[in-house]
Assembly symmetry: C2
């Protein structure tokens, strides 16, 4: 089994018949400046969980953001006029809106209790992924808060660093998916969604393959990385974030340097909106 397959149309890639997901049971609370790869590595070894070729590690964005120190003390922000205006329409704290706008490239929708924006990384979600859950200010911080946690600075780059370090430590070829829980249009509930990846093609393009009866498939592109994030979220233990790292074994995937932003549709190409 090898991640790199040259035939872009090889249907075997999605046709493994078994998949096993295993969450790391224990990981210390991540602190700013921590070497996250080293923490994950130690956690794996402590649980006698090895890594093998073609394993995918799905890592919650929050622990990456914590290691990167992406904390923000809202009391230090001075909201702009635009932030005040959007805060009035959405009912949100103007300082939170200021933080959201600073991380966003576009506001998609504003309504009561909703501020849906496109993060600078390309992904559309509520509040640019800025979160107040499971956030404790770093110990060295003196501000009064409230504290929030931003998304990782560059989730693809974070994924690539984890991939390089963990691949080297285990002498294997890995892929990394950085996940976040996103709401979505049309449907209730959040689903794990890929906001960063490394070593795996986030989209599996089967266009040109043929169906059971020889008819060429026209529209079959699967969001593999998103599906990995959703699968991992089933055992990630969202409320208490007890399981922020999940090893997925058994998937046949294409190695790639494509960023997770390849999953994002440009607004003018969005047939659903």
């Amino acid at each position: 089994m090898h991640a790199e397959v040259t035939d872009a149309r090889d249907p075997v890639l999605s046709c493994a018949a078994e998949l096993s997901l295993r969450a790391l049971r224990r990981l210390p609370h991540v602190q700013p400046g921590d070497d996250l790869a080293a923490l994950i590595d130690a956690g794996l070894r402590a649980e006698s969980l090895e890594l093998a070729d073609c394993d995918v590690l799905v890592v919650c964005s929050k622990i990456i953001a914590k290691a990167e120190g992406q904390y923000l003390d809202l009391s230090t922000l001075t909201p702009s006029a635009a932030a005040h205006e959007l805060a009035g329409r959405s009912g949100k704290d103007p300082r939170l809106v200021e933080a959201v706008l600073a991380d966003s490239s576009r506001v998609s929708r504003v309504a009561r209790e909703a501020l849906i924006v496109q993060h600078q990384g390309g992904h559309v979600s509520a509040n640019a992924g800025i979160d107040q859950s499971n956030v404790r200010p770093p110990s060295a911080a003196a501000g009064s808060g409230p504290w929030v946690l931003r998304l990782p600075r560059d989730a693809d780059a974070s994924a690539e660093r984890l991939r390089l370090q963990l691949s080297a430590a285990w002498g294997v070829r890995l892929a990394i998916v950085v996940s976040d829980s996103f709401g979505r249009p049309f449907r209730k509930g959040t689903v794990g969604t890929a906001i960063g990846c490394a070593g795996i093609e986030p989209l599996f393009d089967q266009r040109g393959a043929t169906d059971l009866f020889g008819r060429t498939l026209e529209h079959t592109i699967t969001a593999t990385a998103d599906q990995l994030a959703a699968a991992a979220d089933l055992i990630a233990g969202q409320a208490d974030e007890s399981r922020p790292v999940v090893r997925v074994r058994g998937l046949l995937f294409r190695a790639s340097a494509t960023p997770a932003s390849a999953l994002c549709r440009a607004p003018n190409e969005d047939l659903y909106l």
Copy 2:
């Protein structure tokens, strides 16, 4: 391990640390009138795959639709004026548009190559899920075609029938999720999505639970059934539909009679649009 848990806030429900997915490797081509539960049962036994308490079977909607004979010969349809008008705007076959409208409760978006509608079952997708891939007219049919396949008539009812039959055959408590591959706004690629379910609460509501630091979670509702569908799709073999049944083992979930339409947001409550 038991599916029925009374404490609605029990975080253990999402915190199993291991999950295994196993696709049925072989299943005969499903024909109209087939007893799908019996076919799946025979397939499981042929592969020595047993069912146990709390297993979830994720079943592709297409084989259910085929068993239910949801084929339609487009040449038999006479498009309405509305269908002609939408066909002009979308570039689609007016007969296909007629079929889509007949199965829809609302048109969400019309653009070139896109007809996004709300199916009568509540789920929003392209073309009401009507599909031309992997569709072969039933042998007894005489029409000239082209043939398409509609979604199952009532995917929750189909799921419940499968649940009752297979639970009885194995003497265990199962859950069933009926999946379809949906495109979505904001993001490229399709993801497995739940359009029917039985025996499992499709949404896992953790509101009221507390986070790591005792802060009450406000917005944490997870779309468990959708995540199961997405996970199964990773090994379902979309192009040739070689693996339309996936057994998921290890999830702790809440037994429920809630239909999958509970996952659908009403348009006036959709904060993302």
